[in-house]
């Protein structure tokens, strides 16, 4: 078997055996079901508040709350909640092993550090993908059960209404973009993980970076405006671009490009450091 595949299998095996891995899935399940139950009972009033002005000018025919709207709303958890859950695992991939001493154990084996680091990157990506897929599936299945299908109404730069048969490709694009953002998070936490021996630091560090940058972006500080498009957290919401009535492909490509650049940069820094660092723990 190709050594790289073996290494990836080992890493996946290790994270599957850790209870911490399942915290993310459990948390997502709770968030999804909890929010959907809340919307089931209280959603009408919330939606009414959002579209009150429209009701003044129009007669609205058709249901607003459906699986598509719920999926859209839940995708906003990609801004803070999901990054935290991803860090819990990816931030521990190297620092956790360093603090427990098992890093020493595996680096005595006849594999290059690059391959070992790469296997951890890929494991982080697989985990992130699994988490996002799980979120999508859970949201869709429970939403379909509770609310049924219907047109998607998105209050984005006005009101965009998408037919039920026009949303699947949009959500595919949106989830893909969301996954890319989460891979940036995984890469950042893995990079920090390669620098430290304490497993808490990469988790807290990554989350802190995300929260601070999000606050700055949300407050829309004019001072930072020129650099904001190049700050990776600003792209956590770029999945919403797939819900513009006419897609702005240039903006989407730019967001993809910037995030890929961050992924490459974070991983390159982490890899170079990991290759050259002395294992003292």
């Amino acid at each position: 078997m190709d050594p790289m595949i073996s290494l990836i299998q080992i890493e996946l095996y290790k994270i599957l055996k850790r209870p911490r891995t399942y915290i993310g899935f459990l948390a997502i399940f709770i968030i999804v079901v909890g929010l959907q139950m809340a919307m089931y009972f209280e959603g009408e009033s919330l939606v009414t508040m959002g579209i009150q002005n429209l009701k003044n000018d129009f007669r609205l025919e058709g249901g607003i709350i459906n699986v598509n709207l719920m999926t859209y709303i839940l995708m906003n958890s990609l801004i803070i909640h999901i990054p935290i859950l991803i860090c819990l695992v990816t931030g521990d991939l190297i620092a956790g092993e360093a603090s427990s001493g098992t890093l020493r154990l595996i680096l005595q084996r006849p594999h290059s550090r690059s391959k070992i680091y790469l296997s951890k990157i890929i494991t982080g990506f697989v985990y992130s993908t699994a988490l996002i897929l799980f979120m999508g599936l859970t949201t869709y299945l429970s939403g379909l059960l509770l609310f049924g299908n219907g047109d998607l109404i998105v209050l984005r730069r006005g009101v965009n209404v998408f037919s039920a048969d026009d949303v699947f490709w949009r959500f595919t694009g949106a989830f893909s973009m969301g996954l890319l953002s989460m891979i940036v998070v995984a890469s950042l936490s893995l990079m920090i993980s390669s620098f430290v021996r304490n497993a808490i630091v990469p988790i807290v560090g990554t989350i802190s970076v995300i929260i601070v940058l999000n606050i700055i972006f949300t407050l829309g500080a004019n001072f930072f405006e020129p650099i904001l498009p190049y700050v990776f957290t600003t792209h956590f919401i770029k999945w919403q671009y797939f819900f513009d009535f006419d897609l702005n492909y240039n903006a989407i490509y730019k967001a993809i490009g910037i995030q890929l650049a961050y992924i490459i940069t974070f991983n390159a820094i982490g890899l170079i450091h990991f290759k050259n660092k002395d294992i003292l723990s």
Binding site: T102, I106, R109
Partner: protein, 296 residues
């Protein structure tokens, strides 16, 4: 024939030099003692052999393969237990070895049970390592080092944290590995009597520099040691020693004389030839005293 050769090995950290110009070699079949006080650079040196730390300068060759950042193949012939035995505590002993076997591209799964049996842990194969005692973890550490049938095993403080029986068991295991399996062993230890008992060659380092290197017995023989002698006629012995210009101390009913090892039998013969009955002859000087002397 040399299995491992270190030439001018040096490691400088930002604020101090941990290993300085260290040259040593380990022959195939050796049990090679690596000695030094705390902070002498033993672990750093061994970590450089394993590629865990990158040397500032100098080289290490294992099986004629130079250790560097890109060449990792030489690790196929090395097993190691560096510092404490750390494992995935949420996994069983078997699962831990299964992971490490996969790391070593080991296809024969039976080997896992073989090494567990070798170290006496077969019955605990499915127990989570988190519940293992220190002794069990140390043995599991040896097991993982043996897993891929290496030519060289490096053991850093293998008896650390073990009770006296555990230390004896560990010593016997190491000796068996060397004698039965023909595996070369480098052992770093503070339990010097252990080294004395099992090592045939050794190096002593202090402040990152080599102090002495060589055959254990030769190093001990080259140094005088204290011999305690008990006789039935103490005064006669004292007179005899004075006539032979041998310095001595008296302690209770004993006389303590400084001698080299190969001089002991001559002295005993001299005493008995002078009709003094010898009741006890005991060697007091050990490797510990040598070690302290060398590292002062």
């Amino acid at each position: 024939m040399s299995l491992l050769i270190s030439t001018n090995l040096t490691k400088k950290f930002s604020d101090f030099t941990a290993v300085n110009d260290l040259t040593f070699n380990v022959n195939r079949g050796d049990v090679y003692g690596f000695l030094g006080p705390n902070g002498a650079g033993k672990s750093t040196s061994l970590r450089m052999v394993l590629g865990l730390i990158h040397p500032t300068s100098g080289t290490v060759k294992v099986n004629n393969q130079t250790v560097n950042k890109t060449n990792r193949n030489y690790l196929s012939s090395i097993g190691a237990l560096i510092e404490r035995p750390d494992f995935y505590t949420n996994l069983s002993a078997y699962d831990n070895l299964k992971i490490l076997a996969k790391f070593s591209n080991l296809k024969n799964k039976k080997r896992i049970n073989e090494v567990l049996e070798e170290v006496g842990l077969l019955k605990k194969a499915n127990v989570k390592v988190g519940s293992f005692s220190q002794g069990m973890k140390q043995r599991l550490g040896i097991a993982q080092a043996l897993l891929h049938q290496p030519e060289l095993i490096i053991l850093d403080e293998p008896s650390n944290g073990l009770d006296p029986q555990g230390q004896i068991d560990m010593r016997k295991l190491i000796q068996r590995i060397n004698s039965d399996l023909g595996i070369t062993i480098i052992i770093s230890s503070h339990i010097l009597s252990e080294i004395e008992q099992i090592a045939n060659r050794m190096i002593v380092i202090n402040n990152g520099e080599k102090i002495v290197e060589g055959d254990v017995k030769q190093l001990m023989n080259s140094e005088q040691m204290k011999v305690r002698i008990k006789v039935n006629q103490l005064n006669s012995l004292k007179e005899l020693l004075k006539t032979k210009a041998l310095s001595f101390d008296t302690y209770d009913e004993f006389v303590i004389v400084k001698l080299k090892e190969n001089e002991i039998s001559s002295l005993v013969n001299l005493i008995t030839d002078n009709n003094i009955s010898v009741q006890e002859v005991r060697q007091l000087r050990t490797l510990e005293e040598l070690f302290l002397k060398w590292t002062q």
